[in-house]
Symmetry: C2
Subunit: 411 residues, 2 copies
């Protein structure tokens, strides 16, 4: 890669960030005018890089760099939709970087010995229609046609939004790739967390994409007058919940590779002079290892029951989500690690992904491998403060190029 490639990548990511549904901040929801225009822009970049580029029936932008004689292709990509008030790198780095590398390879006639397909997935965040991964689902053959009836906040169905953007809904099933013709799926993505930053490393190899269990807990105690009920006679739902929140934190801090979060916490209708009779909170537990996660969830459930019993309150625990973790293929992890060692001179750090990614869906089609790139600002993401350094972008591009040049597909 030429030495200015990091700066070029960041310049392109800034350009892409100009396509927004809202003035003054970046929001690009699936099939909005800005989203449709961004797809055209990405296709033009692919074409400039010398790729055959098309837009499919869900809005995925697909660029192909032909090469080798194998019937198996290597797929790579990430998504170009955003959350509301987003940063500039989430998803889009995994589109812009492969296009730049493919363009460089074509210009320098260093083509890899296989066909490379770069996919800019149209939808991953699930903001507009509350269905996530619509782009990668279609490619992986997991698109659920019942999702076409999903409506957005204004009542428009997904089917109507697709038609309004000029898409042929009946062509969606044909987007699905034939697994026999796919060697693997690769995704380059910002880490969206502080682990690489903390370890002072530019890139890392993802071991697995964490599964999660989510619960809603409702604690019921006994409300009372804040002045008249002695402490020993209280059944304070908020104090009980506070103890439970700390139990989640403590249990998930005991083992690496495990995280637990209480993101929602509320005394509904709470008043300054009333002992809370009810307190509600959410629990989200994740791990790259389902066994680790399930053991933690079981221990936390038991701790909540025990706290409730001791405090004479009721705690209703309702599980609202249970998703298995998705492992990254060991051979791909090793191949990434070898490239990281060759390019950076340091052994690769391996780390799980706590967030979901398109690779999660693609795993139902083929082996997946992910490269994480360091974020700045404490690892903040889904926020305008999301950062990526030019040096790290360039390192990631060099690692990706090295990977492609060393990777072997079946003949």
């Amino acid at each position: 890669m030429p030495s200015e490639s990091g700066a070029n990548l960041l310049a392109r990511l800034r350009e892409l960030a100009a396509f927004s549904d809202e003035p003054g901040r970046l929001t690009r929801l699936y099939l909005s005018p800005a989203h449709v225009a961004a797809a055209q822009y990405v296709r033009a970049w692919m074409q400039q890089a010398g790729l055959d580029a098309t837009i499919d029936a869900v809005g995925n932008v697909v660029g192909v760099l032909e090469g080798g004689t194998s019937m198996q292709r290597v797929l790579t990509g990430s998504h170009y939709d955003t959350v509301i008030n987003a940063g500039k790198y989430d998803g889009r780095l995994g589109i812009v970087l492969p296009i730049a590398v493919a363009g460089h390879l074509r210009r320098t006639r260093l083509r890899p010995p296989f066909t490379l397909e770069i996919i800019a997935f149209a939808e991953e965040e699930g903001v507009r229609f509350k269905s996530t991964f619509l782009g990668s689902r279609a490619v992986a053959g997991c698109f659920d046609s019942s999702d076409l009836a999903s409506i957005d906040a204004s009542g428009t169905t997904l089917a109507d939004a697709l038609r309004a953007a000029g898409h042929d809904v009946s062509a969606i099933p044909a987007i699905a790739r034939d697994a026999a013709q796919v060697a693997c799926f690769l995704e380059v993505h910002i880490e969206q967390g502080p682990v690489l930053l903390d370890a002072a490393l530019p890139v890392g190899v993802v071991t697995s994409i964490a599964g999660s269990v989510r619960s809603i807990v409702a604690v019921e105690g006994r409300c009372g007058h804040a002045g008249t009920v002695p402490m020993a006679l209280r059944r304070d739902a908020a104090a009980a919940a506070a103890e439970m929140v700390l139990a989640v934190e403590r249990r998930c801090s005991e083992q690496p590779g495990l995280v637990g979060t209480v993101g929602r916490l509320e005394v509904p209708g709470g008043a300054i002079n009333v002992i809370p009779g009810r307190c509600e909170f959410s629990i989200d537990i994740r791990s790259g290892s389902d066994a680790l996660r399930d053991a933690a969830a079981a221990d936390i459930g038991a701790a909540i029951r025990s706290i409730a019993e001791r405090r004479h309150v009721k705690a209703d625990q309702r599980r609202v989500l249970e998703a298995a973790s998705v492992p990254c293929a060991a051979a791909l992890q090793d191949a990434w690690a070898a490239s990281v060692l060759r390019i950076t001179g340091h052994p690769a750090m391996r780390l799980p992904s706590g967030a979901g990614h398109d690779a999660m869906m693609m795993a139902s089609l083929t082996a997946v491998g992910m490269l994480f790139v360091r974020c700045g600002n404490g690892g903040i993401s889904h926020h305008p403060d999301e950062t990526l350094s030019t040096a790290d972008a360039e390192t990631a591009a060099r690692v990706f190029q090295d990977f492609l040049l060393h990777f072997q597909v079946s003949p």
Copy 2:
């Protein structure tokens, strides 16, 4: 007292509960049509009991049983307004019970050697105009004329509401009693808590009305993705707040006569998959002893600072209220205790009042003494589940009558 007096008291309290602003539940806000009608009803009861009864310029109903030759009167009473969706006993027991006792004394010619004035205060709860104790403020000479400009939810001023109910606003200052002509103020009130219930005692003597300090605490940490930030790198505002909530509970449980409550607790805009960047909660600390309360507030403030420092979050503590406690006169406590012993055969339990009462305002005019009566249902109050047994109502009436027959005023 005749043996059916408890049942009669409860029947009258049920009758009075029929005056409501809302069908199906009891809500009687200051100067509503139901409130004005209730005042007429209370005046009629006073007249039936043989008292001289009038309604003053803020809506207080005043009944006088003349007696003795002293220029000093004994005042007693409580309030007849209610909270929204109230119970039947809060405030009103302290009106209905003295009327019944005065009627009995008059009929049996057992008059106390002083003039007894029973006041049904028009406003104590502060629901409609957000100003509390309007009735007892006027009697104690603490009515603040700037309150006349207070508006209710519909924009009506207090002054206009008073005029609409037929009151002469200019006559309010004349309601204030001359301290030299008042021997003391007595208030009989349900406990609104579980202490007497827990001690299996029908009545108790109030030592003081608790003062309170109230604060709002805003914890600021760092928001983040629930999947991607390892536990050790988090600055979770909700987990920090949870530890602070337990610090309030622990410190206030260490000493009797002290209570601390976190009534509001919220992660604003919390989401199940986001590490809370902010968490807000309230603290209400009360004690009959200001020194005890202030020491606890200082320790809790320090604990919050220390938790915040250790967790690398900011905690902004803002004090929103500081009210001194009001002691009940020792001589009146002893007089109540003597009556309790004579009537029940057991030494009186003495306990602080955690809630505010009209006696708090009346303390600025004269010595105050309060008798608490046991609540059922765990001591619940400000709620339709508020209960009072006929036996306890009767015991309280006998204690009150005994008090009046033994109490001496200056000649």
